[in-house]
Amino acid sequence: MTRYRTMFANLDRKQQGAFVPYVTLGDPTPEASLDIIETLINAGADGLELGFPYSDPIADGPIIQASSIRALDAGVRPKECFDIIHKIRNRYPDIPIGILLYSNLVLAKGLDPFYDQAASSGVDSVLIADVPVKESQPFCEAAIKHSIAPIFIVPPNITEANLQRISKQSEGYTYLLSRAGVTGTESVAQMPAAELIKKLSHYKTAPPLLGFGISRPEHISSAINAGAKGVISGSAVVKKIEENIESLDDIKAALNDFTSIMKAATYYQRQTRIKVHAEEVI
């Protein structure tokens, strides 16, 4: 959990927001996935959000669902996911690693064994897409026991009561949704009321990272201007894998460019220049 604190403190000092890319573990194969994740880190990713492929990803749109299917077809199961994470952790001892998955994968292994293995693989946080705060207690208890941050999603329509409840339990970071719907770039990010971000800070919720539809540098500058501490970009990243699926070199080149551009958009002092830069990119 302390890796997130260190990351946010360092970024604050450097006047930057966090750029956290998401990929599905094992997409398209375990070996390629390891290579892809290293590319992301070397191109400037501040943290990682790594998905476990699942048969029924109800919170994800078509791009991430397709990546799940690719990984499942490559035989990737939780064991292979933890193996990849373990390798990343050995090579990059400081980068915060979050995992994102669905509740049934946790239940199938058993709560305590799952969080135990996550901790020993070097995971910092666990986000379960289909566990809302009202069902979260047993998951949170197991997470805390193993010093893993339970991550909560704060949607734009959250009630005051649920927000307070999340604030009490949140560690690591808070996953702030830019809009309703599922993951994907078909609907672009919308900026949540700065008021919601103010409330998060008022309740001392863990630092907010904005997600859903983050696909362009100007989404990052808007997010940071609205008070977010960074962004999570999933479908836009995974799309680069899908578009270049024939060649791992092409995937890496595309992700290297994309990550560098997105990371550059997190610099506070460059916010005014982003718009010009963004037009060049697109």
């Binding site: 029924d56 064991k79 999603i153």
Partner: protein, 392 residues
């Protein structure tokens, strides 16, 4: 209102984003239950539009055993061709009550889709039905029926192209559009409050049966039997009998090509506990928790999970769950047609098949009620193909 759990089962395992929509639905349902005008409109539609109460028919030739009397609860005679119409009318009225103009639904066999489409036509709601691409093929007449009723039918190609994938798509649509759209879930599964709402809007099946059998036989049945996919017709039949401890509750799951194969849909008989589509219940999964594809000759039972109250009833030993194969269901389908002049849905044929088995083995007098949850018109082409294949 009851809690979100039935013993250890149930809950609402959905993205946080959907929680306000589920809370709103629960509140609307609680208020509606207390509102005499809501109930009046619901029961008036059931009587004057859908054709309730449905008859309880004493079979003349179905039972092989003179000791055993079998009655059929005739949900097949309900407008729409299946029990589904009951709860769809209830939820469509709730949609209006919440001020929403659009309905999203998933469908397997197409029965829930047809029922949803007709209720939406009647109540002037926009209707969008997700249906697995494979199911669209198997159930083409129902696809046409839905379109005729003004619904938009969206074939789902992802995953196995069956009911579970249609549910996934419907949930995604709802996540993006919950403010103006109601997700009209078709079975007694899914996140709280759906299992409770669906049960309450089907409860009249068992309530009518109870009154009818008391009138005809002067006593309660020894067992009520219903097929179980998600479990809505079964829970509707069981609800009023749960407290009648001398009445056995028997749910019949699809054994497909046999429980020893992987091709079945018997989540209670062969599955294990886990979470699918928002509820903690019995599901079909592999050792890592990936959901397995179910299989049944009947699209309406082809679902790898079951409503959480059924898991609870099994857990506490109040209900028994058994499974019937494709072949046994197909035989019952034909036998009921030949012996009683009634063509049952393939789903309901599973319950009929089990009743016939009980009758074959009975050594004492027995009074059975089978919930004949739907009619078989929709299955004629498919069964015709299957039987021709068998004959050649």
């Amino acid at each position: 209102m009851s809690t979100a759990y039935f013993g250890n089962f149930g809950g609402a395992f959905v993205p946080e984003l959907l929680i306000p929509a589920l809370d709103e639905l629960e509140q609307a349902f609680v208020d509606a239950q207390k509102d005499a005008s809501f109930n009046e409109e619901f029961f008036s539609l059931l009587e004057n539009y859908a054709g309730r109460p449905t008859p309880l028919t004493k079979t003349r030739n179905l039972s092989s055993n003179p000791l055993v009397t079998i009655y059929l609860k005739r949900e097949d005679l309900l407008h729409g061709g299946a029990h589904k119409t009951n709860q769809v009318l209830g939820q469509a009225l709730l949609t209006k009550r919440m001020g929403k103009a659009r309905v999203i639904a998933e469908t397997g066999a197409g029965q829930h889709g047809v029922a949803t489409a007709l209720a939406c036509a009647l109540l002037k709601l926009e209707c969008c039905i997700y249906m697995g691409a494979k199911d669209c093929q198997r159930q083409q007449p129902n696809v046409f029926r839905m379109r005729l009723l003004g619904a938009k039918v969206i074939p789902v190609n992802s995953g196995s192209g069956t009911l579970k994938d249609a549910v996934n798509e419907a949930l995604r649509d709802w996540s993006a559009n919950y403010e103006g759209s109601h997700y009209l879930l078709g079975t007694a599964a899914g996140p709280h409050p759906f299992p409770t709402i669906v049960r309450e809007f089907h409860r009249m099946i068992g309530a009518e049966t109870k009154a009818q059998i008391l009138k005809k036989e002067g006593r309660l049945p020894d067992a009520v039997i219903a097929c179980v996919g998600g479990g809505s017709n079964a829970i509707g039949m069981f609800a009023d009998f749960i407290d009648e401890e001398n009445v056995r509750l028997i749910g019949v799951e699809p054994a497909g090509k046999g429980l020893h194969t992987k091709e079945h849909g018997a989540a209670l008989c062969q599955g294990s506990t886990g979470i699918l589509h928002g509820t903690y219940t019995h599901i079909m999964q592999d050792i890592d928790g990936q959901i397995e594809e179910s299989y049944s000759v009947s699209a309406g039972l082809d679902y790898p999970a079951v409503g959480p109250q059924h898991s609870h009833l099994k857990d506490i030993g109040r209900a028994e769950y058994v499974a019937v194969t494709d072949d046994e269901a197909l035989q019952a389908f034909q036998y009921l047609a030949e012996s009683e002049g009634i063509i049952p849905a393939l789903e309901s044929s599973h319950a009929v098949a089990h009743a016939m088995k009980i009758a074959d083995q009975a050594e004492d007098e027995m009074l059975l009620v089978v919930n004949l949850s739907g009619r078989g018109d929709k299955d004629l082409d498919y069964v015709n193909q299957l039987l021709s294949k068998e004959a050649s």
